[in-house]
Amino acid sequence: MIEIKNIAKTFGDRQVLAGISGTFRPGETSLIIGGSGTGKSVLLKCMIGLVKPDQGEVLYNGRNFLTGDEEVQKEIRREMGVLFQGSALFDSKTVLENVQFPLDMLTETPSAEKEERAMFCLQRVGLEAAAERMPSELSGGMKKRVGIARAIVMNPKYLFCDEPNSGLDPLTSIKIDQLIKEITDEFNITTVVITHDMNSMLEIGEKIMFLYKGLKMWEGDNSTITRSTVPELNEFIYANKLLRDIK
């Protein structure tokens, strides 16, 4: 379980996050939603240790990630998998080497076992045939799937996905969403997804947190989000004409 308590972050004189708290449970796909520039990605970066918040706590099963000693932080990092917005695959490595990379760097497992594990993860995302290809030869959707395979290769307890659907067509987006959901259920992972994709919200949002100008404005799930009375959230959800008409 991940708990965030009173997270605040300011860049210069601009407050990006103002006292965000929340809980994310294992086996549940939690979504953090909001418009561009509302602090979603900064919150994710605070949770994974890429940005240090000005105040607040991030607890992984009760262990404080921000103030814990180096060993605790290292241990938590080993339990994390992150899918970055642009997939962040290493250009100079093949798909298989990319997926195997965390195992190479963090474990002493024999190379045959590492390769086997990496191939299993590639099979899980349906890309075993692309193992020897370079990232530049892959489509956007394939890169995301390789990113997911790399994120799960260490058997993470926590999976973070930063806008997994950005730049993808609706069909591929849904496939990626379903893959994230399946992996979350299958391995009982605590999954946090940053998105502003309506399909994702309705499809996989077992828990949804809505951010607006650095504040948490609403929390619920995909069955209640359409009945929200928060004007900012409604404005966000019904920005699309089709959804407005349906409503």
Binding site: G49, L50, M80, A88
Partner: protein
Amino acid sequence: MSHIGKYFIFLGTLFTNREKFRVYYRLVMEECISIGIKSVFIVSIVSTFIGAVTCVQTAYNLVSPLIPLSIIAVIVRDSTILELAPTITSVVLAGKVGSNIASQLGTMRITEQIDALEVIGINSSSYLVLPKMIASMVMFPLLIILAGFLSIWGGYVAGTLTDIITPQDYIYGLRSDFKPFSVTFALIKSVVFAILISSISAYQGYNVRGGALEVGAASTTAVTNSCIAVLAADFLLAQLLL
């Protein structure tokens, strides 16, 4: 001034939380190929022509019949070993290697590849930059030795083909009053320049924020700052060691 402070802090981060030796060994070998082997062609061309031009221009300036022609070879040798091979080669490498390092790291930064390393607990600066610095420190002296030989050979070819100097006079000049410390001095310079070029370029690339435009700007700044640092260090080392 804040950049200088940040630069030294950045250098400090290279030596904390390092990876295992075997990881660096493989990366250093890859970087030796990228920085060293792939620079042989440009270094060879530049140094050969510089030697040739030095020989021809020195002969043009020697108008007195009282000065022996072998002095041309002495000038080519000393200017090559003391200055042209280490400094000009390093300026050329600042353009080739420096811009490559800055743009590579800058692209990795803006495409979140550096974040991906950090997230799994790898010290990204040490993992990415230290092998480049070590490879530079190994390959720059070798390239500069090559440049020295080719420059002197270029002078020989130009001088003898244009009848400026006889082969005997040239060889005699090369062997006259040779100070072995000049070679040591050139190698010391090459290591210092390697550290400066690789670290300054890495600092510029590693700290890029923004997009493609900023990567290009960082690459340009890396080359400019590296060249300035090389020339300043060149002066300081000459003052200190000669």
